[in-house]
């Protein structure tokens, strides 16, 4: 599905040149992205209080949790879409809100849940818009932009769709186009909010495989919110389980995914077995009868 790139490093990210020694000295934490004691709220409704999260560098971090546990909210805070009412989100040691917008956009990319494809836009044009943070009024479309866009489309398998209209694509194709746009942004950190929602099982696996490739071959740090616990356990190198706005457990899936944890976080009785394909934990919900007898 996704063609191998020429040498796997073409799309890799160019480190920011203007943040070398100065930001190194400032860096208070080891990891590039972290949230420190943040309180997150919409209007008056508090979603999470005093929440602290570290995103390990070069990890594929997946945030899981039941509905309304604050996982998308946390992702929005990490990507500066939501300003914490208390606490701070640090990117490379600086408070993320205080950094120039374009500089953040060259470091940290986001695939939001809701995005709008403008009427009558083609795939190529949409992916090209991911180059925005690298452009300026006098630098509108460099050869580099062209190359990165081509590679991003090839990487996500949408190159042959370049001249098609986005609104005519299937859901799976469209999601890959948006991912291509985020890739064209060339950020070392990439945040994805439920990237597999509305996709069929094959496309879900495609998207997750693509994420794993980006992580393994290019060393990008990925943070994703996923609904499917089994997908999370299979693909994540670092898992964060949230419930009611606080971290219940975090660590490698093999270390933390237990029947007790699933019951605590999701309220679901289950067995954990080894995934026959990968050896990662596989959550098998208890049969209905078993659950009914124990609850009553």
């Amino acid at each position: 599905m996704t063609p191998e790139p020429e040498d796997g490093s073409d799309l890799s990210v160019t480190p920011e040149s203007d943040e070398s020694d100065e930001s190194d000295s400032k860096r208070s934490t080891v990891n590039r992205l972290s949230a420190e004691n943040v309180t997150l709220a919409y209007d008056q409704r508090v979603i999470a209080e005093q929440l602290s999260v570290e995103i390990p560098d070069n990890s594929f971090t997946v945030i899981v949790g039941p509905n309304a546990c604050g996982k998308s909210t946390l992702l929005r805070a990490l990507s500066r879409m939501l300003r914490p009412s208390q606490g701070r989100v640090l990117l490379d040691g600086q408070v993320i809100q205080s950094m120039p917008a374009k500089k953040v956009a060259r470091t940290l990319g986001l695939l939001p849940q809701s995005s709008i494809a403008p009427d009558g836009i083609t795939v190529g044009d949409l992916v090209g818009r991911g180059r925005y943070p690298h452009q300026g009024i006098l630098r509108q479309w460099s050869a580099e932009d062209e190359r990165v866009v081509q590679e991003s489309m090839a990487r996500t398998g949408v190159a042959e769709l370049a001249d098609r209209y986005v609104d005519e694509l299937s859901g799976g194709q469209r999601q890959r186009v948006w991912i291509a746009m985020a890739l064209a942004q060339q950020t070392p950190l990439l945040l994805l909010d439920e990237p597999t929602t509305y996709l069929d099982i094959q496309h879900q696996i495609d998207v997750l495989d693509l994420c794993a490739e980006l992580h393994e071959e290019q060393g990008r740090t990925l943070v994703a919110v996923l609904h499917d616990l089994n997908h999370a356990a299979r693909y994540a190198t670092h898992l964060i389980a949230l419930k009611g706005g606080r971290v219940v457990a975090e660590g490698a899936p093999n270390d933390i995914v237990t029947a007790e944890l699933v019951e605590e976080v999701f309220g679901l009785r289950c067995q954990i077995i080894d995934d026959p394909e990968t050896g990662t934990p596989l959550v098998v919900p208890a049969a209905r009868k078993a659950r009914v007898t124990t609850t009553s």
């Binding site: 209007d43 953040v104 940290l108 949409l126 925005y132 001249d163 209209y165």
Partner: protein
């Protein structure tokens, strides 16, 4: 299955600078500007004393007779220039409003700006019996105050496109009621004057209207165009454009202020000429077939529409019988109907 072959050209310098343009967009803008210029010359020649195309050009170049010189340079040229500037401002303002509100109906007519300017003008006409210049000032103040009110009322941790339209409709209704009340309070002479103003007219516009409008456009148009790329990103939703490094709220506020200023100034100069701000961006978009706010094409289209409509109203009804706003209103309606029929045939709506 439709595929689009967009013919874009990129100009790159060795120093790493690059400029990209869509050939079709360039062609459309060029054609519109050409048509606008031609229509302007024809319009200058139209009136109680017709002047031929060639004579108009010669007079504009400074080689006309004294009589022609007076008619062209003192009477008709400023009027046409006001028309061009008003049309361009309305086209650009409309494109900005529609793009920011992400709603093709998000034009100043719908948002209540035009009605606000009308209130200002009506207060001067009905309550103060002011001069034409005072009416202009009144309309400008009315438009700006309304624009500010809409923006402040729609502000709640940022301005959301849909909320902007809704608040605009609310403000618009209040202001329309005030206008209706002022009209019932006027005597018949003032009421007639008010209705002519409310329709939008270029009659009797002179150089004193041209200069302020031109100065405003000279400042605002470059400012707006410099922020066009951010606006283009904002079409994909606030989250995506934020993630791409656009300061969404800042760009939005700047462009809204510019759009309010453009619309209020245009309305003050010519009255609330209806439907130019609504239709110019839509027509431009259809011609360029390009996604994005299409700012320059909308600006050119607005100017072309207004000048052509003014010419049409003079040809059809005689010089200064019916103000240009009647023609744009009817044209706007016909255009929307045509849009409805074709879109329906194409099965798109």
């Amino acid at each position: 299955m439709r595929t689009a072959v967009r013919n874009t050209r990129t100009l790159r310098t060795p120093g790493g600078l690059s400029v990209r343009a869509d050939v079709r967009v360039l062609a459309v803008v060029g054609a519109l500007l050409l048509a606008t210029a031609a229509a302007s010359v024809v319009l200058i020649g139209t009136g109680d004393f017709p002047i031929s195309f060639g004579d108009v050009l010669r007079t504009l170049a400074g080689n006309g007779t004294a009589g022609q010189d007076f008619i062209v340079n003192e009477l008709r040229l400023p009027r046409v220039l006001v028309g061009l500037l008003v049309g361009a401002s309305l086209g650009l303002g409309g494109a900005l409003f529609q793009s920011v509100s992400r709603n093709p109906l998000g034009s100043p007519d719908v948002l209540g700006l035009s009605q606000g300017a009308t209130s200002g003008a009506l207060v001067v006409i009905v309550l103060l019996s002011g001069s034409a210049a005072q009416v202009t000032v009144g309309a400008l103040i009315g438009g700006l105050v309304t624009g500010l009110a809409i923006y402040l009322l729609a502000w709640k941790q940022g301005v959301h496109g849909y909320r902007l339209v809704l608040v605009g409709i609310g403000v618009s209704a209040v202001v329309t009621a005030v206008n209706g009340y002022l009209l019932t309070k006027a005597d018949l002479v003032d009421a007639t004057r008010a209705v002519v103003w409310m329709t939008g007219s270029l009659d009797g516009r002179d150089w004193s209207q041209v200069w302020p409008l031109l100065a405003l456009c000279a400042v605002l148009v470059p400012l707006v165009l410099a922020n066009a790329r951010g606006l283009r990103m904002m079409e994909m939703g606030d989250d995506v454009s934020n993630a791409l490094g656009v300061r969404v709220e800042r760009v939005r506020m700047l462009l809204m202020v510019a759009a309010v200023l453009l619309t209020a100034a245009a309305t003050a100069a010519a009255g609330p000429v209806s439907f130019v701000a609504l239709t110019a961006p839509q027509l431009a978009r259809r011609l360029t077939r390009s996604p994005g706010p299409n700012l320059v094409p909308s600006l050119s289209m607005g100017a072309a529409l207004l000048v052509t409509a003014d010419w049409a109203s003079q040809r059809a009804f005689g010089a200064d019988q019916l103000p240009v706003g009647v023609v744009t209103g009817v044209l706007g309606g016909v255009y929307l109907l045509w849009l409805l029929v074709t879109e329906r045939r194409a099965g798109r709506i």
